[in-house]
Amino acid sequence: GFSYPDTDLDLDLLQSVTVQPPAPTISLLNSWLPPSPVMGIECLVLGAGQEIGKSCVVVTINGKRIMFDCGMHLGHSDDERYPDFSLIDGSLDCVVITHFHLDHIGALPYFTEVIGYNGPIYMTYPTKALAPLMLEDFLRISVGRGVEEKFTADDISACMKKVTPIDLKQNIQVGKDLQIRAYYAGHVLGAAMVYAKVGDASMVYTGDYNMTPDRHLGAAQIDPLELDLVITESTYATTVRDSKHASERKFLKAVHDCVVAGGKVLIPTFALGRAQELFILLEDYWERMNLKVPIYFSSGLTRQANIYYKTLMSWTNQKIKDTIALQNAFNFKHGTTCSLHFSVDNFCWCRNVNCVVSFDRSQINAPGSCVLFASPGMLSGGLSLEVFKQWAPSKVNLVMLPGHCVAGTIGHKLASGKLTKLYVDNNSQIEIRCKNVNLSFSAHTDSKGIMDLLKFLSPKHVMLVHGEKPRMSILKNKIESGMGIKCYDPPNGGVVKIPSVTVHVKAQTTDSFAKSCQSPNFSLSRCSTSGAVFSTDLTSPLIVSEDRISEAILFMDRSKARGVHKEELELIGSGEGKPQVVLYGHCFPIRSDNLTKATGRLGLSGNRSWLKVLALELSHLFPQTNVQNMGDFLQVGSFQLSVCLNQSCTRRSSDVPGVHATTCTYLCCSWCMEDEKLALAIISSVRNSL
């Protein structure tokens, strides 16, 4: 039979003898340990590499491939406008869009409907609601200019149907391995930073974000995460912006000066985002200064603002949320109190509606001063350009560019002071005499914000996109030297490979291992800066260490690793301290009355008769095995089962249903690793049948 030389395993012995494992076990070990080199993260930059526009990065994390953003470049009209999708090697697992700006979503209909991507697409609720408006608006302007686009209005709606809307912080499981989660980014309504994780490798793609709250949106918010990589925008890689207050004052003064002098103010903005913020600011000022000059909105904006503020309020900042909550209710109660072109419902966030009017083309040359918000921003076409052509020749007028203008647009030329003449069409041109002010009202974070975010996340690697090359390299140096984080700024088409370092290997442990680990065995010590382990210096941080882990032993067979508490197993040696067989154990209760009843039926009594009953039961349940009754214990292969009378049995499991200590009998089992499957099957069937 078996001998039990030392139940308490000499752990030091295990450590002292170093034997080279034989060949088959080396291969066993290799299949368990992570492959070297580890897979990690690979980034392919399809757009916004060392430039601003057509954001698109394809990231492969441990074999799963995600496309972050799918934008178009507004400064190009040739093939350069779209990311070069032919560079993608293999299929994508999903596409995630961070926000509704065209340079982040513009190429999506093309990608899904023309290129034929058919997998999942994720974006936040506001992005899904507002993106089609942006895309349709863009298409309208293109058609107006006679430019042939690569997708149609039908493509837009077909594409949007495939989109799955997501909420902030919602955990999305894509397939079995990929997990994504969106965080608030502040930049525009619904803008998100995206966290993605596959296995042990994780990363964040920020999209565009803003680290300071503005009048209608909050600041970006993210949890502290352990990250291998952060891909961040770097629009303002070197600028530290003025305080919000100063630029707001500058804006208000410029507008005020102009309207008092009888001029017209043109504010080219995109439909959503800046327009709302500046309007809230202006409206407030108008009320304070008791100004009566009308503020116009180009008509396309009103419908958008409608959905925007009514349904997606929870995505704005707290202050708006609170006031809207009341006013929405208020408006519902009293209906329309405004007799102008649209009802209060359309602009429920506007307290003083009398000064807001929608605008149509006939009013461009109406006399008197006014303020007009017109889309698109950057004067890239449409109504804003049309109005600009009419108003630009007059000195009293003002063009207000609230934010960054992409290179190649008229807005960009105007802001850089290079624009004096503009061709209206092929043969006539106008002179630009109006004033222009370019204010950094952009909702992008400045360099301080970027650094703050990186400091907070402290990832192992950083990649910069969405910025201008010279500034990016300055920021890159700052990150590498200042924070000691490896930083990359690849150009379009560039590939960055990052090894993933936080790799874990998996093992299973037994219940009592976990239990022993849950009752800690702490020891405290102070570590000193001088390097000595023990120090009396009270200012040095306290180090908590504990020894419970060294009570555990890890076993491995057939590439499966198992952690076991030392008291759980017995080693059966050949006599020279070298163990040969490992026995696992489990001790569990069953209701003795059931057992007694069963023995009673057979006309038997006593502990031994219980084993007889069990033997009968087992040979019935497992007919293909040989159940032997050895008198004190039952044996099936290496599996042994006996009645356990030891109250402090180390293998004992505590929580079993409907069984109370007084009415139960414990059965103690042990088995060799190779018989584990059988053992578990026997245990669960004994439990279930009795």
């Binding site: 295990l14 450590q15 170093t18 494992p21 076990t25 066993l28 070990l29 368990w32 340990l33 809307p165 909420d167 902030l168 912080k169 919602q170 955990n171 999305i172 997606l312 309020m313 929870s314 929405n328 519902f332 109660k333 209906g335 419902d345 400091k455 402290s458 790799v503 874990h504 290997v505 299973q508 442990t509 037994t510 291992f513 976990a514 570590c527 180090i543 260490s545 504990e546 419970r548 882990i549 060294s550 555990a552 032993i553 890890l554 076993f555 491995m556 067979d557 057939r558 690793a561 952690g563 163990p579 040969q580 067989v581 490992v582 929580d655 249903p657 409907g658 690793m673 578990l680 669960s684």
Partner: protein, 637 residues
Amino acid sequence: MKLTCLSSGTGYQYPPCHILEDVCGFRILLDCPLDLSALSVFSPVPPDNGFVSDGESSHISARDCYDKEQEIRKRQKFGTPLHGEDLIHDELWYKTVKNLHLWDPSSIDVVLISSVMGMLGLPFLTRAEGFSAKIYVTDAAARLARLMMEDLVSMNMEFQYFYGPRESGAPHWMRREELELLRPEVKEVVVGKDGSELGVWMPLYSLADVMDCMQKVQTLKYAEAACYNGTLVLKPFSSGSEIGSCNWTIDGPKRNITWLSCSIFASKHAMNFDYDALRGRDLVLYSDKQFLPLMDEVQSNDASSTIPSKDLSDLRCCSADKDDWKKLSESLLSTDEILEKEKLDFICSCILQSVQAGGSVVIPYNRLGILLQLLEMIPVLLESLAADVPIYVISSIAAELLAFTTVVPEWVCKPRQEKMFSGEPMFSHVDLMSKRKLHVFSAIHSPELLTTWQEPCIIFASHWSLRLGAVVHLLRRWGGDANSLLILEDGVDADIALLPFKPLEMKVLQCSFLPERRLPKIECLLKLLQPKILVLPDDLKEKLDFSNPSSDKFPVLYYTEGKTLCLPSSPEGSVDLEIASVLAERLVWQTLEKHDVMYTRLEGELVMEQGKFRLLPGIARADSHLSKTKEMKTDAG
């Protein structure tokens, strides 16, 4: 791990309440409801006195006078049918969960809330001394629950005005001799079947208690993960029964648990039941009891709600090819839809009849979803009638409640989300209000109501117990009108509830607003979730059959109210451990002779992160931790 069912509840209005003990060493309370149906033992504020003017003396005399009258009546009428005067004439007290007060509030570590109704009793708990548990609830449910609690507080004010300042100590009806005088029907509600429930009655919490409670609550978004103490990862997934209502998953290192609360497969307004996310857990606790009364109904001969037997057989057979998820979910959703539509159509036709006959309709709403759906269906009917019948919603929170439904696209069902994406309002009440077909008032005595008042009309008002709020006044107004109609939900004991308004000429329609979840469906669902262990209320023992040999077998345990049930750990008893590869590579291995087995002693530091055991190289970990805290400090500076 142990499960104690504190109260098995009565369904949607009073969901069950459980305590899970030793979930990785923590104690979790599941829901904290209030039994509002017990309010029916009280009499509503008497009609003539309504809102009494100031002056203490009149209040006290009112109370005294009622006390005496009541006593005389009781003695006289013992043995005669129950009368309105047999109810308790005093300020309302509220019945909390019956066994909860036996537990030390400070011993609870986590509270999980599944629905608005499951939160109404929470302020009692949060104000208890020593209570420090973390409370998790979805953001939408928290918002709605705050409104409901505020509404309750404001409705309860009427009683306070009438009866004056609260007496110190127990109210008179709690005295032993008074209890003896109570009629048996009333007494059973007051002291419970076994006479143990007198101690659970409480005067209502104050507005300050509600605010305090809301501050202690941590709200989560849909499927957002909260990590308690690094050990338990908690996630809410939509249960379909209401905006913000959810089922929870509790993932610990040793075991994954799904707690299924009252769930509806296909909702007309709220986000659908997300059962896909609940699959593959070790343990499923199914605490939904709502279908139970309905089951009996189906078995009897209710013609309107019997399902074609074909559907049932469909459901039965679907369990066979369970890989076919799509087919299954479609069949789960479809039958619900038809039934709910039928039911609401029937309600609407009754409403129409009343209105045509010149009567008014009172609907004490309690389920937001039903309010929203009826608000959509009724105007369509009225259109066909060509009569100008206004719809009123009267409640202190009605305006905010309806406004709130327009701003939670994340929690409404897919078709309504699509409406939002195409720029339309998600619910039609926005339109109705702007067309002035729907009017919302905060109280029955608001001046706007008086100026727009028009009869016949259709009124949604609170409260469904018929003891509080505008409903009481409306019933008094139309109680004698045989053309008027009152629509009550199942689950309210109509006999007692209507007592104070007798004699009642008004028609009363009592029906279930809820789509039925029939047993085959539940059986099907539970089989699909494939738990290792299933825990069910004992009422289901006879009704559900899991011994079907064709399905994979899993042990089923049954819990009983007031009893503690031990939940077994899975027989494998295995817990996942992640070992940092740096550490794994430097382990020194030994081999066992004759076997292809190796072993080694473990080292490093064991940490618990996101519900997982991780073994990290100790020293390096300490360093990175230090540097991280340092950075955070400089950040703050």
